[in-house]
Symmetry: C2
Amino acid sequence: MNLSRVLIYGMGLMGGSLALSVRGKFPKTNITAVVRSEKSKNTILNKNLANHVVLQSEIKSLDWSNYDLVVFSTPVESILKIIPTLPKSGNTIFIDLGSTKETIVSAVESYYGNTIHNYISTHPMCGSEQAGPDAAVPDLYLDKLCILTSPKSASNVSLEWVRSFWEQIGSWTLEMDSKSHDETLAYLSHLPHVISTLLVNVAGSNPTTKKEILESSKPITGGGFRDMSRIAGSNPDMWISIFKENQRFLRNSIDDLIQQLLEFRNLFGSDGSFDESQIRKIWELALANKEEIRKTK
Amino acid sequence: MNLSRVLIYGMGLMGGSLALSVRGKFPKTNITAVVRSEKSKNTILNKNLANHVVLQSEIKSLDWSNYDLVVFSTPVESILKIIPTLPKSGNTIFIDLGSTKETIVSAVESYYGNTIHNYISTHPMCGSEQAGPDAAVPDLYLDKLCILTSPKSASNVSLEWVRSFWEQIGSWTLEMDSKSHDETLAYLSHLPHVISTLLVNVAGSNPTTKKEILESSKPITGGGFRDMSRIAGSNPDMWISIFKENQRFLRNSIDDLIQQLLEFRNLFGSDGSFDESQIRKIWELALANKEEIRKTK
């Protein structure tokens, strides 16, 4: 795999960690980073995440053909603005790390039309409550799933190159069309983040709970709450971007959850009685679903 | 602390782990277990969790005064049946490990009236998706919170004895009245379990998500979903018991969550627009609440 020069456009946790993975796997590769702030630039140079760092504001035009691989690691909205400026020929491979796929893939498809191109949209499913290049770690992508979405007219050679790239980085790959990706991710990732965030707000808005929390010097939560709240409130910029791109499926998933909460709540009669067998069925179904989703059966 | 003879009434994960802790801290203590099934009896004897095991069905009457400490480690409902059979004098200390407190404490208070007694209700906040004496581990209670609820007319000496017992086991303790306990636990423990359970059912009932899950040989979830689903569907018997005892506060917490989900959902207009600043406020509030609840700020 020829990987002499890589451009990572946007270098936060994801881009910075990818730089560390590339450094580990392809030590001779020359890495260029494009970032917005002086602070990021300094962090990247101090941590030696890239050989060159360019501030976005300093760029007049970019010669994409200088790179074997260009990685877009910015919010989806700004990727959408860059796509119409990409070259329609050349050997540079373009990928992004966007958390949603439909808007990116349709922008790529409408820009390239029937022209064969090298843009493959990818979604490495990892991340952390942390953000910024300071939080970059070399093993972020190790044993993680990277979803590959190939737009129409993308060359098969590019798709196989990108698959091989991610597998050498240490991830395992799975192909998904953009609609299935966004719908599946709404249920398996976006909804869980919304729930975690609202759960801590619900707990924090109950006066008795708040009082007991404030009076204790240590956390009065068990492991359940700790796990359920880990991803709460993290990275608002990223989530606002995701909500912009994927709100149709996210809304559906929230509606499904509200529906199930209402059904659950209605199992309890006002006299204190409740439908025990129905609760048992819900619990059994959850255990089966959990095993199926987590592949533990 | 005099702890020659302990009776653990009901020996699953919690009771069995407590036996291991007692064995570690008070090696000379003689432990008797009361269980329902032959299978549990055999496991307990094989793991040497107790010196004597008695089947519940074999008991005609129990001489509670034989023990320094009696621990009720069964569902709350069956503790409620035992309370009116306890002695009104003697030095035996009684505790339970019940996950809810209001019904137990009011049963104790109505039974003992103004008679000074040695019944202290306790709630060690630990547990696991696992159940049964087979899953017992010696460090289950280490560094965990044990909430102490002292019913009216309980002797102060007993309260301090029980506090000291749990602290020697390795837990840290916090006093809470029964109503505050049950309300706080609804928000910090019971609601999170319900949400985790319904979340996997919501994800499992979406056809696209289901199809992608079935087509992949490995889990397509990230760390967020994995954490959010860990406690889903676990231990239905325990949860049915908790729902019986704490459904008023649990219903309130579910209503609060539905309310916040509806408000969140309504931030998105049908034209794709949404109130970004409001989402940012919700995320910031969650981060503040999370730090306050988890005591990380």
